[in-house]
C-alpha cells in the first residue's frame, strides 16, 4: 500500500486522469485504480466518494445520472474544462516532484 499522505495528495490527479477521455462511474473508477496500480492503490467507498464530491464541488468534474435499459441508474463523472486545466497543471507539478525525488533518491524509472 502507498503511504496515506502520498495517496491523498495524488488522488485528485488519478481521478482527473481517469475521467479525462470518457465519463466513468464510481465503482468503475475504483476498479480501474485497483487494477492499473496492480493493487498498490485502492479506493473504497469511504474515501472515493468524498473525493469525487469534492472535485465536483470545485467544478473540476461533473456527475450526471444515466439510466440504461434494464439497469439501475448510475452516476457518471466527466472532466470539465476547468478540470482539464487543473489536470494539466497537476501533471506538470507531479512530474517535477517525481524528478526531484528521483534526483535526490537515485530512484529511476524502470
Amino acid at each position: 500500500m502507498l503511504d496515506r499522505e502520498l495517496k491523498k495528495g495524488s488522488a485528485e490527479l488519478l481521478i482527473l486522469s481517469l475521467v479525462e477521455h470518457e465519463p466513468r462511474h464510481g465503482y468503475e473508477l475504483s476498479k480501474l485504480i485497483d487494477s492499473r496500480s496492480n493493487g498498490a492503490i485502492r479506493f473504497h467507498v469511504a474515501s472515493l466518494y468524498p473525493l469525487l464530491y469534492r472535485l465536483e464541488k470545485r467544478g473540476w468534474i461533473e456527475g450526471r445520472w444515466v439510466e440504461k435499459a434494464g439497469q439501475r441508474r448510475r452516476r457518471y463523472y466527466r472532466l470539465t474544462a476547468e478540470g482539464r486545466r487543473v489536470l494539466a497543471a497537476q501533471r506538470r507539478n507531479w512530474r517535477q516532484f517525481v524528478e526531484a525525488i528521483a534526483r535526490i533518491t537515485g530512484v529511476q524509472h524502470a
Binding site: 495528495g9 462511474h25 464510481g26 465503482y27 470545485r58 448510475r74 507531479w94 535526490i104
Partner: protein, 904 residues
C-alpha cells in the same frame, strides 16, 4: 434466486447508508441520491467479492468495513455534501471564491494550531498580554489626550498664566486689574474669562458639606459654547462683588443632592450660611474647572491689583495659533506694565512678561501626559520584540514544514496560496491573542477606575470605545503582518529542490538565518533602551523615597475645617472656635498632639508671599524673594513630627497682643544669612516694610516638602495663628493608634462646638504622600514590567536562533571534533555568534537609549538622563542574559558524538 438475493441486499445497503448519514441531516432528495449512488457501488463490490468466491457473509462484512473506512462515513462526507462548505485542502481551484478560500484557510489554520497546542498557547498568551497592555494604555491616552473636550471648537480653547522661574513660581495667576486690561487690548482672542476656585460649605440639606465652587467672570460659559440644560447662567447685573445670591449648579450636585428634582430652579441653598438661589443646571459633561459643583458670578475690578489669584481661560480667534496668542499676550502685558508705573514701578522696556499659553486639553491632562506617552512607546516596543520572537518561531517552524510546503507546491498550490495560507495562520494567532487581550484590557480598566479620584483626569472618557477597539484591531493586524510576513514570503519562495534536500536535515537556509539574526539584534537594541529607561526611573524613585520630607507621616491624620464668613466675621470668633475644637480633640484618648495649619503638606494649592528680611530690602526693580507662607498653631510641629532645630516653637503666649514672631526653615535662614545667625532677625512675611509688619524669628525648622517629594524645596515661613488668623485650616492630629479610627470622635467634637461646620478632606498623611507617588509608582511598575518582558523575550529570541543554528551545524561540529577540536573550541565558536549578535544589539541599543532618554528627563529625580551606572548595569544584565541563553545550545554542541552525527 441471485436477483432476489441482490434485491434484498440492495435494500439492506440503503438502510446501512441511511443510518450512517443521519447525523448530516441532509435534504431528503440529496440523501436519496447519495444512497442511490453508494448502494449501487456496494452492491457492485458485493457481487465482485462473491464472484471471487467469498462467502455471502464474508463479502458482506468486507463491504461494510470498506464503507466505514478509517472513520465515520458522515464525517468524511460532512465537508463535501454540506451546502456552501469547501473542502479543507490547499489545492483549491484557481477561481475559488475569496470568501470560501478564506474559510478554508481559517479551518486549516485552526487545525494547525490544534496540532501544536504548546506553541499556539505561548504565542497567543504573549500577544494577549502585549495587545492587552497596549490597548489599556491607549484607552487612557485616548480618553485623556485624544478625545476632544466636550465643548464647541475645543482646539481654540486655551488657558494662560504667567510664570516666574527666577522666583521658583511655575505659575503666576493674574490680578483682576491686569486681566481686565489684557481682555480689552488683546487681539488674538475672541473672548476670555477669569475664574477663581473658592470652597464653600453648603448647608440646609442634611449634614453640612464642602463643595468645590468656581466664581466666574462674564463670558465664562459663552467661551465653552455650553448652555445649561435647565434655567440660565448669570446676567450682566448679577456680576457684582461678592454676589452669591444666585448660583448655577452641576449635573452631579443636582443628581447627588437633589435627586434630579425637575423643580430645582428657584430653590435656595445656603453657602457659608448665606442664601443663594439656583438659577441653572449645567450638563453632565461640563466640568470647567474640574469637579466644580457650584458656579457663582465673579465681578472684575479694573483697579484691583492686590490678589494675584485669578485663573484665565480664553477662546482664540479662528486661525490663531497658541504661539501667536502668546506673543499677543506678552505684548499686551508689556504695554500695560510700562504704562502703569504706579503699580509696576520696576517695569523696564527691555523686560518682557513671561506667559504660558496652553491648550485646555493639555492642561487638563496635566502631569500624566509624559508618563502616558512613555508607557505607550514602551508597550509598543515590547510588542515589537514579541512580534520578532514570534516571527522567529514561525520561521523555525516554516523550516520544519518545508516538506509540507514542497509537497503542497507539487500538488498544485501556487506560492501565493501558500503565503496566504500562512498569513491566515498568523492572523488567526493574532486575532485569538487580541480577543484575549481585549478581555485583559477590560479587566485592567476596571482596576484603573479603582484609583483614587483625580489620579487620572477625565477617567470617564477612559473606556473600550470604538476608537480603542479600532486601535486594538490595527495593532493586531500590524502584529500579524510583522510576524507573519517573513515566514510567509519565505515559504512562498520555497524551492522544491533545496526544500526537499534541506528539509531532511532540519536546518534553515541562509536567508532565513539572516532575517532571524536581524530580529535578534533589533530585540537586544530595543530591550536595552527599555532597560536603561526603566532603570533611570527606578533609580529616581529610589532617590525620591529616600528624601526626608521634613516630617514623619506615620500615625498622622489631617482634615479640613472652615469657619464660614460672614457668620464668623472677626478673628476673635474664629480663634475661639478653633481653640475650643483643639482643646476637645487634644483631650480625646489616642490623640498625642494636635495643631492647625493654613496649608498642609501634600495637598492641592499653596500659599506664597513676598517675604522681606530686614536689612535686605530689595532695591527698586529687584526681585523680591517668594516664600511659602503658613500660619500655624503651637501644636503643629509636634503633630507633624518635625523637630525644632534652633530656638523654640510658638507658644500660647505668642498671642495677638504679644510681640510678632515667626519661624523659618533652614533654607530660608541659609538664603538670607548664609554665614550668620537667623534667630532674632526680623522679617516681613507679607512684603510690607512699614512699621508693625516686622516679625522676629524665634525658631528654625527643617524644610518640609510641600506638594511632592521631588519638588525643588522652597523657602518657608511660619506665622503664629493667634497673630495671623486664617478662616480655613487643616487640622493635623498625631495619634497613638491607627489614625483613621479617630475620625468619628474628632467629627463629634467639631460638631459639638459648631454643628454647621463640616470636617472634610479627611486623609492620613501616609495616604497623601503615597498618593503623590501613585502616578510614578504606576509608571515605574508598568515600565519595569515592560522592560523585564522585553529582555526575557530577547533572551528567548537569541536562545532560539542559536539553538537552531547549532542544530543545523551538528555535522560540522562532529567533523571538527573528529578532527581534534576540543569542546572548548566548539563552545567558543557558538558563543562567538551569540556575542556578536547580542553585542551588535546592545551597541545599537546604547545609541538608541542616548537618543531616547531625553524624553524621560521630566520624569527623573536626582539622576542624570545619561547616568552611566544605569547604562552599564543595563548592558551587563543584557549581556549576562545573552550569555546564559547562548550557553545552553553551545554546550549541546560540545557534546556532539562525531560517530553518531556523521553516520546520520
Amino acid at each position: 434466486m441471485r436477483d432476489a438475493h441482490s434485491e434484498a441486499s440492495s435494500h439492506d445497503w440503503r438502510a446501512q447508508i441511511a443510518e450512517r448519514l443521519t447525523s448530516l441531516r441532509l435534504a431528503p432528495a440529496e440523501e436519496a441520491d447519495l444512497a442511490d449512488e453508494l448502494s449501487q457501488h456496494l452492491e457492485d463490490r458485493f457481487r465482485e467479492l462473491r464472484i471471487r468466491g467469498m462467502s455471502d457473509q464474508d463479502a458482506r462484512r468486507v463491504v461494510l468495513e470498506e464503507l466505514d473506512g478509517d472513520g465515520s462515513l458522515a464525517s468524511t462526507l460532512r465537508d463535501v455534501v454540506r451546502r456552501g462548505s469547501v473542502p479543507a485542502t490547499l489545492e483549491t481551484p484557481a477561481r475559488g471564491s475569496a470568501l470560501g478560500q478564506l474559510r478554508q484557510d481559517a479551518r486549516y489554520a485552526v487545525r494547525t494550531m490544534q496540532r501544536s497546542l504548546g506553541f499556539t498557547a505561548v504565542v497567543v498568551l504573549t500577544l494577549a498580554l502585549g495587545i492587552g497592555a497596549a490597548t489599556t494604555i491607549f484607552s487612557v491616552v485616548n480618553g485623556v489626550l485624544l478625545t476632544p473636550l466636550p465643548y464647541r471648537d475645543p482646539q481654540q480653547l486655551v488657558v494662560f498664566y504667567g510664570t516666574s522661574p527666577e522666583k521658583q513660581l511655575a505659575e503666576v495667576s493674574f490680578p483682576s486689574g491686569l486681566f481686565v486690561a489684557v481682555r480689552e487690548k488683546s487681539r488674538a482672542f475672541a473672548s476670555m474669562a477669569a475664574f477663581d476656585q473658592p470652597g464653600y460649605t453648603l448647608t440646609g440639606r442634611g449634614d453640612p458639606v464642602r463643595i468645590d465652587a468656581a466664581t466666574v467672570s462674564e463670558d465664562f460659559f459663552r467661551i465653552f459654547g455650553t448652555a445649561p440644560i435647565m434655567g440660565r447662567t448669570f446676567v450682566a447685573t448679577e456680576y457684582r462683588p461678592d454676589n452669591i445670591t444666585v448660583s448655577v449648579i452641576s449635573y452631579g450636585l443636582w443628581q447627588r443632592m437633589f435627586g434630579g428634582d425637575p423643580k430645582i430652579l428657584g430653590r435656595v441653598i445656603k453657602l457659608n450660611g448665606s442664601p443663594s438661589t439656583i438659577v441653572g443646571v449645567m450638563p453632565r459633561e461640563f466640568a470647567m474647572p474640574e469637579r466644580t459643583d457650584v458656579w457663582l458670578p465673579l465681578a472684575l475690578d479694573p483697579a484691583a491689583f492686590g490678589c494675584w489669584c485669578l485663573d484665565m481661560v480664553g477662546r482664540m480667534k479662528p486661525g490663531i495659533t497658541a504661539d501667536q496668542a502668546k506673543r499677543d499676550l506678552i505684548a499686551t502685558v508689556d504695554a500695560f506694565t510700562l504704562s502703569r508705573h504706579d503699580i509696576f514701578p520696576g517695569a523696564k522696556p527691555e523686560d518682557h512678561a513671561k506667559i504660558i499659553v496652553m491648550p485646555l486639553v493639555k492642561r487638563i491632562a496635566g502631569d500624566i501626559r509624559t508618563p502616558l506617552l512613555v508607557l505607550i512607546a514602551a508597550v509598543g516596543v515590547v510588542l515589537l520584540i514579541a512580534c520578532a520572537n514570534i516571527a522567529n518561531l514561525l520561521l523555525a517552524r516554516a523550516t520544519a514544514r518545508n516538506r509540507e510546503m514542497a509537497v503542497r507546491c507539487c500538488l498544485g498550490a501556487s506560492p501565493g496560496r501558500i503565503a496566504t495560507q500562512l498569513l491566515t495562520e498568523s492572523a488567526m494567532l493574532a486575532g485569538t491573542g487580541a480577543a484575549l487581550g481585549l478581555v485583559f484590557a477590560a479587566v485592567a480598566l476596571k482596576l484603573l477606575r479603582q484609583l483614587p479620584e483625580g489620579q487620572i483626569p477625565r477617567i470617564d472618557h477612559v473606556k473600550l470605545d470604538p476608537i480603542v477597539v479600532l486601535f486594538a484591531v490595527g495593532v493586531t493586524v500590524a502584529c500579524a503582518l510583522l510576524f507573519g510576513l517573513a515566514p510567509a514570503v519565505r515559504a512562498a519562495r520555497v524551492d522544491l529542490q533545496t526544500s526537499l534536500k534541506d528539509g531532511s536535515r532540519g536546518s534553515s537556509s541562509g536567508g532565513a538565518r539572516r532575517v532571524s539574526n536581524a530580529f535578534v539584534v533589533v530585540q537586544f537594541a530595543l530591550s536595552l533602551v527599555l532597560l536603561a529607561g526603566s532603570g533611570l526611573l527606578l533609580k529616581s524613585f529610589h532617590r525620591l523615597l529616600s528624601v526626608d520630607p521634613g516630617f514623619r507621616a506615620e500615625n498622622v491624620l489631617m482634615a479640613r475645617l472652615q469657619t464660614p464668613y460672614p457668620r464668623y466675621d472677626n478673628p476673635q470668633m474664629v480663634r475661639s472656635f478653633y481653640d475650643r475644637v483643639l482643646e476637645r480633640v487634644a483631650a480625646l484618648p489616642g490623640v498625642r498632639s494636635v495643631g492647625l495649619t493654613q496649608m498642609a503638606p501634600f495637598t492641592r494649592g499653596n500659599r506664597q508671599e513676598n517675604v522681606i528680611a530686614e536689612g535686605q530690602e530689595p532695591k527698586p526693580g529687584e526681585q523680591v524673594v517668594v516664600s511659602n507662607n503658613r500660619t500655624i498653631t503651637p501644636g503643629f510641629f509636634d503633630a507633624m513630627g518635625t523637630p525644632i532645630l534652633k530656638g523654640r516653637s510658638f507658644r500660647a503666649s505668642d498671642g495677638p497682643g504679644a510681640p510678632r514672631v515667626a519661624i523659618v526653615d533652614e533654607r530660608f535662614a541659609r538664603h538670607h544669612w548664609p554665614n550668620g545667625e537667623a534667630l532674632g532677625k526680623r522679617i516681613s512675611p507679607q512684603g510690607d516694610t512699614s512699621a508693625g509688619h516686622w516679625r522676629t524669628i524665634i525658631g528654625i525648622v527643617p524644610n518640609m516638602r510641600h506638594s511632592s517629594l521631588g519638588e525643588d524645596p522652597s523657602l518657608q515661613v511660619y506665622e503664629s495663628f493667634a497673630q495671623q488668623t486664617a478662616w480655613a485650616t487643616y487640622m493635623i492630629v498625631r495619634s497613638t493608634r491607627e489614625p483613621r479610627s479617630l475620625v468619628s470622635a474628632i467629627r463629634a467634637q467639631v460638631a459639638a462646638v459648631d454643628p454647621e461646620i463640616p470636617l472634610y478632606g479627611v486623609r492620613t498623611m501616609e495616604e497623601a504622600v503615597s498618593q503623590s507617588l501613585l502616578t510614578r509608582r504606576l509608571t515605574n511598575g508598568l515600565l519595569a514590567a515592560f522592560a523585564t518582558a522585553a529582555f526575557l523575550l530577547a533572551a528567548i529570541g537569541i536562545y532560539g536562533v542559536i539553538s537552531i543554528g547549532v542544530a543545523g551545524r551538528m555535522r560540522e561540529f562532529g567533523v571538527r571534533i573528529a578532527l581534534g577540536a576540543k569542546p572548548g573550541n566548539v563552545l567558543q565558536l557558538v558563543l562567538k555568534e551569540g556575542v556578536w549578535l547580542a553585542g551588535a544589539g546592545i551597541a545599537l541599543g546604547l545609541l538608541g537609549a542616548v537618543w531616547v532618554v531625553r524624553f524621560l528627563r521630566s520624569l527623573l529625580f536626582g539622576v542624570s538622563a545619561f547616568d552611566v551606572p544605569t547604562f552599564v548595569a543595563a548592558t551587563i544584565v543584557l549581556a549576562f542574559v545573552a550569555l546564559v541563553a547562548c550557553l545552553i545550545p553551545a554546550r549541546r554542541a560540545t557534546r556532539v558524538a562525531p560517530a553518531v552525527v556523521l553516520r546520520e
